[in-house]
Symmetry: C2
Subunit: 239 residues, 2 copies
Amino acid sequence: MTYCVAIKVDAGVVFCSDSRTNAGVDQVSTYSKMYHFGIQGDRQLVITSAGNLATTQSVIAKIRKDIKDGADISLATLDSIHEAADYVGEVSVAIQEKHANNNSNVSFEASFLLGGQIGLETPAVMLIYPQGNHITTSDQTPYLQIGESKYGKPILDRILKPETGLDTASLCALVSMDSTMKSNLTVGPPIELMTYATNSGQMEHTSFSADNEYLRELTKSWDRLIVEAFLQLPAPPQN
Amino acid sequence: MTYCVAIKVDAGVVFCSDSRTNAGVDQVSTYSKMYHFGIQGDRQLVITSAGNLATTQSVIAKIRKDIKDGADISLATLDSIHEAADYVGEVSVAIQEKHANNNSNVSFEASFLLGGQIGLETPAVMLIYPQGNHITTSDQTPYLQIGESKYGKPILDRILKPETGLDTASLCALVSMDSTMKSNLTVGPPIELMTYATNSGQMEHTSFSADNEYLRELTKSWDRLIVEAFLQLPAPPQN
């Protein structure tokens, strides 16, 4: 399994992804699920992926090839993130269909989060479904998730608003990831974080390994703070 | 959907369940999913249910009928909670099979949490799967969940230990329910709470409606405390 979250606030966008892949519980590997595509001064895009690893790797390979070959339609040429999401969806569906013809019992489905900024367009993030269609965020729901999304959802609902700062949004993504890792073995480090400040033209990438000092401190602090918060709650009424 | 949690600590057992049922999003109803079976001075048992409402209602009706008819095997006669779980599993499987013969496209599956105390046996809680088999808690995992379980799992993992008091366990169940209701529309009030102190011979039942003052205060306090806790976390490292 996988957990990826993408956040869109006024100040920019944040992506966070884990790096564990598994087929069953005894075939566990570490793969980055975060891919950066940038043209200095023109566009900065990031993609995170969940689902069938063969599908996601083929999709990313095709996206890279289209850029390298100077194809008419690629992440280097499209004018908006909306169009870029359409393109990634088409590539994904084509690759899934290719394999679905040969095998019937395996799911080749994959989902993607795509976001960043093209030119001076407002930054955006998109969730691309296995069927190739996509959705974006809203002021009420300024985040999108793929993979094992439920454990880490409550903290996103409580903290994120359009006016949330980029640092706070990054922290919220990491706490959401922490809750997910605590409850689900198939989500694990290294944790990758990508932040992009609106109009900065610059993606900032951080990778946290399992023994990263900050990540351990965050996990420990959050554990302690949640218990402290819990102890301040009003006691249930007595019968 | 449904969310039910059962907690077993040294001090006793706690059950918490919501009351929303739905078939699709436009057929939403309110049904209690918590059932109490007690023989004063002999046994106190509680069952909560999730899954197909026709199945769960039939299972509860059959359990009640067996008690009323003085059947050889019923929740009034069995000597242990382990055997009681076996019996509920058999009733559930029989009812599911009866309907499965007539229809093939609908899921008739149901899950149950069963617990309490029989005689001076150590109190216990059991999760009965749709297949009729069951599991119990351990010192490391002193709780069981059925239904929409993921949103409310992290707080249980953080707080519950065998030595946790009954009031704290009840509060933890309510907070777990609160996180689930916040993230999932198909889980909703009234919230029912049943607590049983070891060797007390007495189940304590509380029902919280949507406008219950304590429940609203709990939700508000938890929202505020989580945000306050979040704001105390160490900021992510800067690149």
